[in-house]
Symmetry: C2
Subunit: 499 residues, 2 copies
């Protein structure tokens, strides 16, 4: 059976779907998934299958998939492993197109499970059914309004695709992406990959118009050569970020018990990945941080960076990190120093980083950022501490309300509103500058904000990006520069050092 | 004039204080500081000084410090640099004990500023006045209820002391510490260090009973040898975490314009710091992350780690990181496997990491953590994903309320309460196990929680610590192990690799 990108597309954009094992018994997988699909707003027909229920979550139930009076495109299977073969036969009879097999207890549990898994694959192949899993934690397809994972996270539509051989790690990354405002194009927990494996998803993502960045968590590479060839082709168009689980003996042993994966030859692998242009990371959160940069800002053409900072210390720390990671901070032409100087007290730094010395002039940060980003000598701008002041102002206002009976409440309200509006305005201007000058502008937030890292600005393909610390900004910038240099020159980078 | 620890203690525990330049003009330093001190609840006499106000923030005002009808122990000075000498003379006349000079425009601005700064120091010395700054962003002394910085953050009482030559970086770290629940013993922005420098604060912190961990941000070391000797002595008792700004040419140039600091010989410095037992970091957030470990858990005696994880992927990733950072994951004795197995389905991993395969049995994580932490072969435990489930459950409950008319609301409320209570219970048990077995247990939260990294448990000196990602947990564990091994053996570490 041939697994084409078109078959994967059908899986992610089903016309109708059934959940075999749907239930409202709190805490069961059949409850998580069914309620998530219904509450998530999937707008095609949904058929919960349960012999002992008439309706579930307000939706009509059927005793068997054979009772459904219309075609079923995609079936989720959440029933115990012992009963899987019975319902599979029914799915075959019904002409189901794809199955997402949540059920575990297959290849990951030993010889008997492996045998059962082979049977399931053989049967599905013979019936032309695409099988995801078994032992998967589900899929998310935001552009189809389909949210079918255990955790009821609903990431917004975006450009980042996640394929994960670990369901729990994948789900947690999706949860974080949602908290941080990072939009995704799809998520799939590929589970045991009995039939469909991560390479099939890659072939689909290569041509998926929604996907601009591919994020992978892989424990078992399988045919490494096939992956390298495929990755080499894809990375010319779209970046691939890879976290390889099981790099070490300990991690490899753990992976073996987890998905039954065997750790590859990791040193060889590292070289091959580099050759294929794959960006490897060692830390789950870095997958997200870097994907935020890839999906939010234009890519830089070189390693020359301008820095604007609300205060001196961050400027020093960021200069150090930039130089240590291979960037250069060009000097500023006199005209620019003079122009920015009009908005600042006479004792300001007059160099790059531009230290705004804590100015409260709302124009100063905008003038400084634009003057830097428009310079031919500068490829990217990092701006520190402008956004995130709202939280600081709010604390001040709280004190004022407690101890200053003389300040009119309307005035405090106005200050509060202004600081919120100013942050929105600043984010919009960052995006506007990126559109005009086609260079990345990356923010670092003064405080850990509830608004998350990525703020969308309606009408623009770019997004305002605010990391929580300077090193995230410098790492993000380095990753997009490395990708851009490789794509343009087809050669390893210098002087940007290795990850 | 001799600057003794006792003089620093008087600064941080003032009997009475004045703010020269106090105002309710919104956005001025004299407003930030005064309202913060009043709203922060300082319970000694406060004397705002302002020639044109009768009361400020509900407190009686004086036209000059000379009008104050009682002794003034500590004076904050926020008036413009041009008028500083006049008010200094008044402070001298009044017999003020210490001055925190917020005012900028001194040594950091050039030759004239340097001359003025020398004059100020000479005058203060002649009068026996301790001078902090100028160009400082203030001080915080939680054990005295004194919050005197621009941002109105009120970190709780704790064991971490922050000394920062950058006010803005220091303030941001304090803000984060407050968000993350990390308690502090003091914070000081040492500014231009015209008279009192960071080494004087170190000498005080060496004997301060509240301080267990010292965190430094330094741009100019000054007498490096003096620092190394002092640090070597202190690190035998208390860890010192150092972020050195101005390591690179770019950072050094930036630091020069910032505090007028000259970058040291950094390679030489790195070696000297290592010899002195100082833990150097390159990233501001890492100062906080590591200080959370130092201030929350017992230190491990060796590098053998047990891991408990809610799901497989995190276990793999954490095993990799542990091995890469020099840790070992011991095998589990059969009795322990059997004991834990009673709480888990038969297909669980049966190795270290203990994969709880997503169990919802509330006893399983507790049994697993205790069985591991009590083992002689294990020095520390990392537990992933138990806390932070509440956010996931809350999302599920939100869906249920939307789409499941059949589920009784009381039931959903009970589930909601249970998941919150369980997390508290789990945190309490972690702390209890740490007390009983005297080994660190470090959590990683499934989601980015609003509760922050550190949760205090009343009645215990240990705290429940939940990092946001596995690498933070492994790095935190490595830092406390490195410190402990050095302290006990007086020699460099092996096999834990270098930072």
């Amino acid at each position: 059976m041939e697994i084409t990108p078109e078959r994967i597309r059908q899986l992610l954009f089903p016309k109708s779907l059934a959940v075999i094992g749907a239930t409202n018994y709190f805490g069961k997988w059949g409850q998580f998934i069914t309620s998530n699909i219904v509450a998530g707003g999937f707008d095609g027909p949904i058929y919960p299958i349960n012999p002992r229920a008439d309706r579930l979550f307000g939706v009509k139930c059927y005793k068997s998939i054979l009772d459904v009076p219309a075609d079923v495109d995609l079936a989720f299977v959440t029933i115990p492993v012992q009963k899987v073969m019975d319902v599979l036969l029914e799915c075959g009879q019904k002409g189901v197109n794809s199955i997402v097999m949540i059920t575990s207890g297959f290849g990951e549990t030993g010889e008997e499970g492996k045998r059962l898994q082979r049977m399931v694959v053989e049967y599905c192949s013979s019936k032309g059914i695409l099988l995801v899993g078994p032992n998967t934690m589900g899929i998310i397809s935001p552009y189809r309004g389909l949210f079918a994972t255990g955790p009821h996270t609903r990431p917004k539509k975006g450009a980042v695709a996640f394929v994960s051989q670990s369901g729990n790690l994948g789900n947690q990354l999706v949860f974080w992406a949602t908290q941080q405002g990072i939009g995704i194009s799809m998520f799939v927990g590929s589970g045991n990959e009995a039939m469909v494996n991560y390479r099939h998803f890659l072939e689909y993502l290569e041509m998926d118009p929604h996907t601009e960045i591919i994020v992978l968590y892989i424990e078992e590479l399988g045919k490494a050569r096939a992956f390298v060839e495929l990755a080499q082709r894809i990375t010319e168009k779209k970046p691939i970020l890879l976290l390889k689980g099981g790099r070490t003996a300990s991690g490899g042993k753990t992976a073996l018990t987890h998905t039954g994966a065997l750790a590859g030859e990791n040193k060889v692998l590292g070289k091959a990945m580099k050759q294929a242009g794959v960006i490897m990371v060692n830390i789950p959160t870095e997958l997200l941080e870097l994907s935020a940069a890839f999906s939010s800002v234009p890519f830089p053409k070189g390693n020359k960076v301008g820095v604007v900072t609300l205060g001196g210390g961050w400027g020093v720390v960021t200069s150090d990190l930039l130089e240590e990671m291979g960037f250069v901070l060009p000097e500023l032409p006199k005209e620019v120093v003079d122009k920015i100087g009009k908005y600042l007290p006479p004792f300001w730094s007059k160099i790059n980083p531009v230290d705004l010395v804590g100015t409260r002039d709302p124009d100063a940060p905008l003038v400084a950022v634009e003057e830097l980003v428009k310079l031919e000598e500068i490829d990217a701008v990092i701006v520190l501490g402008i956004v995130g002041r709202k939280e600081v102002v709010d604390l001040l206002l709280k004190s004022m309300r407690e101890v200053d009976p003389d300040t009119p409440p309307e005035f405090l309200k106005r200050v509060e509103d202004f600081s919120g509006e100013y942050e929105e305005h600043f984010a919009r201007k960052m995006v506007e500058f990126m559109e005009v000058y086609q260079k990345p502008i990356i923010g670092v937030s003064l405080t850990t904000s509830v608004s998350g890292m990525v703020r969308e600005v309606p009408g623009s393909k770019y997004k305002a990006l605010f990391y929580q610390s300077p090193e995230q900004a410098v790492r993000g910038l380095r990753a997009i520069l490395q990708y851009e240099m490789r794509r343009n020159h087809r050669m390893p980078l210098s002087p940007i050092s290795d990850l």
